[in-house]
Subunit: 154 residues, 4 copies
């Protein structure tokens, strides 16, 4: 399993059906590419992405904000229980090689910002319009972009 790239999907715990579909497809693509998926482990975009990844045999890691692994969405394989509330957002982006932001509100914006602080590449799908995000339009484009970035990541 060693050296498998780890991709974060960040996005809101609540989202529209359209965004849920987008997150699901992004999770599917991550698993199909053979990458590990890390997220905040909760509902909404996080859950849809994990569900998509599990559909294709992917491995899903959830960095949980609360005190119990029972909080994880049902598609998390590896629940990491931080009991640190939003401070765990910093761990999600540190753990990832590349971050994909899908939609999202302020929690997602904090993760985008924290990723920028430590120079992690961020790919954006219908998310905040912040300088430094690599915008793409579809999940396959996101994966293509990740594949072009990975060789330059230690």
């Amino acid at each position: 399993m060693k050296k498998i790239p780890i991709i974060a999907i960040i996005g809101g715990a609540e989202c529209s059906r359209e965004i849920e579909k987008l997150a699901y497809e992004t999770g599917e693509e991550i698993a199909k590419a053979g990458f590990l998926l890390v997220s905040g482990g909760m509902s909404g975009v996080m859950e849809a992405a994990c569900r998509g990844a599990k559909k294709h045999g992917g491995v899903t890691i959830g960095i949980l904000p609360g005190k119990s692994k029972a909080d994880a969405n049902p598609h998390i394989d590896i629940p990491i229980v931080t009991a640190m509330s939003h401070a765990r957002n910093a761990i999600i982006v540190r753990t990832a090689d590349v971050v994909i932001a899908v939609d999202g509100k302020y929690g997602t914006l904090s993760e985008i910002s924290l990723a920028k602080c430590i120079n992690k590449p961020i790919i954006g799908l219908k998310t905040w319009d912040i300088e430094g995000i690599i915008k793409v339009n579809t999940p396959p484009e996101a994966i293509k972009k990740i594949k072009s970035l990975l060789p330059s990541i230690s």
Copy 2:
């Protein structure tokens, strides 16, 4: 000292002379109003604000990202040593009753976002243009706004 409001000043570790002056004056106003000042405790906006506060006998708290209190700027009275890198940003905004953002880059944006996640009021002085920030033009205006907000904060 109990129940004294705690105001965070967030902003970059590097800034222009103009911004430094603005941060200094904001620190001055916080001390003159009798509030405690919390910040990330480092250089740039944080240091200028603390210097301004100390000019008027204010009390300055620095929530440091590194492992040693020697990292604090020379105007910090109370260094809190987290050894948690950017995860300490969440502690800064939790500790404050109101947050003032002055200029700033991605670290500041993460703090703005984390403040919004937990419904802390944020006042902005020449900072990111993010929905939910209360924009003001001068430090005295910021203090006036804080005074109007405090009665509704538990």
Copy 3:
């Protein structure tokens, strides 16, 4: 206020009357010596120590585990709100120049251990019998020991 030594008092959130008295007196001595007092900010040993310090005009810092400064005991001047549960124990000992352990259960033992990990001196008053703790019998002895240690602490 700069460069004032910061002394942590660690101990249980629940304790006997006898221990409460010991913690109170230790807080008194810290304030009388002109040191800042940092603790976990909650009840029991922490509250008694803060009450003792405030009796003599000391300044008390509480590194809180929860999400609200309303959790702090009534004798905390400066509540630091971590929302990090027991992970905040590491911040308490990092922030202190010297740690005094008074009684205590497993939370206190975790703080003793974390202090040893980073080579902070620990003085013990009726606490765990762990190698590396400097045992004393009274609060004044603890302060005397701290004064002998401080010159060698950067």
Copy 4:
């Protein structure tokens, strides 16, 4: 992968050959039992345990204290990068269903204590003599004990 029990192995980053062998065998038993192995991800006991687990196709999670996944020992499959120094010890024990302590110094003692704070069962192999640790003499005994405990863990 869902609902697989997660077992933490805690122990020093430095250890004797004898302890390394014990940690290795404990890792082997965890993998053979089909459990996930979580540890601090570094050298010594942690590395030996992971090496043992990988020998039998186990999955190893490392909750790293530093800023880079390059710090992980070579037998970590899933590096979680906290950048939180010893504060990550709290995450290791929260994430585990049962903790096994093998030898260890103060870092291990902090993890034992943090585990007790949140009522996680701790099994001890040649480790600290602290009340509340379930002592066993061999890795297979540790696994047998875990299997008897798991039904009562949610």
